[in-house]
């Protein structure tokens, strides 16, 4: 575990308003003046009532949502990169090498096997096919996806199985930054414990983790710190 803490995610005065053009251009203000940081070796759990904007924060850091206002910077290859100014190509590179994002639902790709779904990000980083598939298999094994399912596309898997494939895909790579949006939401106790072990291991190797976890037991198992996101009306 690296002992000199380094800021990996810096969110300064993040704002996000959605303009719904199809509904008379109504403006939905979700985030305003939200600031926080995450350092190496931390697992910060973001807390707030449903609908407050927790996922919006994670999606903004992952580049999935456009930065509405303020600044979000992530450390990519040693340098803090400002996401609102980064080109799409830079964001793609950050996703390939720096940020692992577990969304709540797996987007299944028709005809691609579970093993290849998991091996893909490794291969995109230049890991040779055989090694990537071996590491993918190890990770699926650790998440108790039986080997007989590895060659099947996850489309027909149960919700919990798809969620574990989704997690394996991200945790098979040692990303410096992890964004986890309810990674244990559809899992039973045994599988939840497996996932939380992996998250703890990632933290111990020095990953900077920003997570949304709704149950108290999961939070207690991995969090090093909590950040509360205030609903906008309360903040105003």
């Amino acid at each position: 575990m690296p002992d000199d803490k380094t800021v990996m995610i810096a969110i300064e005065s993040l704002a996000k308003t959605f303009t719904l053009h199809l509904r008379g251009s109504v403006e939905l203000r979700v985030l305003q003046a939200f600031s926080m940081q995450v350092e190496t070796g931390e697992c910060v759990v973001l807390r707030a009532p449903s609908g407050t904007g927790k996922s919006t924060v994670l999606r903004s850091v992952s580049g999935n949502y456009r930065i509405g206002g303020g600044r979000v910077a992530v450390r990519h290859e040693g340098e803090m990169v400002d996401l609102s100014a980064a080109s799409p190509r830079t964001v793609m590179e950050i996703r390939r090498n720096t940020i692992g994002y577990v969304s709540q639902f797996l987007r299944v790709i028709p005809r691609v096997s579970a093993l290849d779904v998991v091996a893909e990000p490794l291969m995109a980083r230049g890991v040779p096919t055989d090694e990537a598939r071996e590491r993918a298999g190890t990770m699926l094994g650790r998440l108790h996806i039986p080997a007989k399912m590895w060659d099947l596309p996850p489309a027909t898997f149960s919700g919990g199985e798809q969620q574990r494939v989704n997690i394996a895909r991200v945790l098979a790579v040692d990303y410096p930054i992890l964004l986890l949006d309810e990674p244990t939401a559809s899992l039973d106790d045994a599988n939840r414990a497996l996932v939380l072990d992996l998250v703890r291991e990632a933290r111990e190797r020095g990953a900077a983790i920003l997570a949304i976890l709704h149950d108290e037991a999961s939070r207690a198992a991995v969090a090093t710190r909590y950040v509360d996101l205030a609903p906008l009306e309360a903040a105003a």
Partner: protein, 258 residues
């Protein structure tokens, strides 16, 4: 991966009489990248592709292509002969209708072998060998090498077009609605194949589609076109999940799930 784009398009415009099909379209494309062009029918997607692919002369704009040799050429300003030679050797174009992209009078094997001969391949055995490998790569039984394309299903014809266009190892491949007109299961197979081959070949691709699901699956970046103009451009998932422009929001809201 290099830092220079393989293609830089600036201010591309095309009108048919008073009807503007493409207006001031600009974008860059990097090696190995997949760019989707989406928009409703009539929004200028195919015109854009045809201008890039040399089928239609643009009224204005530049299409600067970085050749394998490193030399950068504006294909719009280049002589007809040079443009044709470059497109033949370093580009591929998978057409919406296999009738436009294949030669129906010759065998499947010849359809794949011809582009190699066109760029100077002479050894019959090697050409037949490559054709056979590419048929296999697009999941067509090489035993059907001597069959005519007309004996193939629509999905097989599209796969044959893909083989014909990738056999020369192009730097850029243009695809116009590659899965249009195919039923859903055939589409899924074709998409998976395109995804894999484009990645393995490291080729940059521009895929025109009206199907946002296809864009989500294949493309790194996306251009949204409306009435000949690019209204929004960016990362595919960002445009689909956080669309800014009213027209993009309309497109996204018009489909069940993307």
């Amino acid at each position: 991966m290099t830092d220079d784009p393989v293609l830089t398009v600036t201010g591309l415009a095309k009108a048919y009489g008073r009807r503007v099909a493409c207006r001031d379209v600009s974008f860059e494309l990097w090696p190995g990248e997949v760019l989707a062009v989406v928009g409703e029918s009539g929004s200028g997607k195919t015109t854009l592709l045809n201008c890039l692919g040399g089928l239609v002369p643009p009224d204005a704009g530049r299409v600067r292509f970085r050749r394998r040799s490193g030399e950068v050429i504006d294909l719009v300003a280049a002589s007809e002969a040079l443009r044709r030679a470059i497109l033949r050797a370093e580009w591929g174009f998978v057409r919406q209708n296999p009738r436009d992209g294949l030669r129906f009078g010759v065998s499947a094997g010849a359809n794949v072998g011809e582009p190699l001969m066109a760029i100077g391949g002479r050894h019959y055995g090697h050409i037949r060998g490559s054709a056979s490998e590419w048929l296999d790569a697009v999941e067509i039984d090489p035993a059907r090498m001597d069959d005519l394309p007309s004996s193939f299903s629509g999905g097989m014809q599209q796969r044959l077009q893909i083989a014909r266009n990738l056999v020369t190892h192009p730097a850029i491949v243009l695809m116009d609605e590659p899965t249009g007109g195919l039923d859903v299961s055939v589409q899924a197979r074709l998409l998976d194949l395109i995804r894999r081959l484009v990645r393995e070949a490291g080729v940059a691709a521009i895929v025109v589609t009206h199907d946002l699901g296809v864009a989500r699956l294949l493309a790194d970046r996306m251009l949204v076109m409306r009435q000949g103009c690019v209204v929004e451009a960016g990362l595919t998932d960002q445009l689909l999940d956080d669309p800014q422009h009213a027209y993009t929001q309309l497109l996204v809201s018009s489909v069940l799930t993307v």
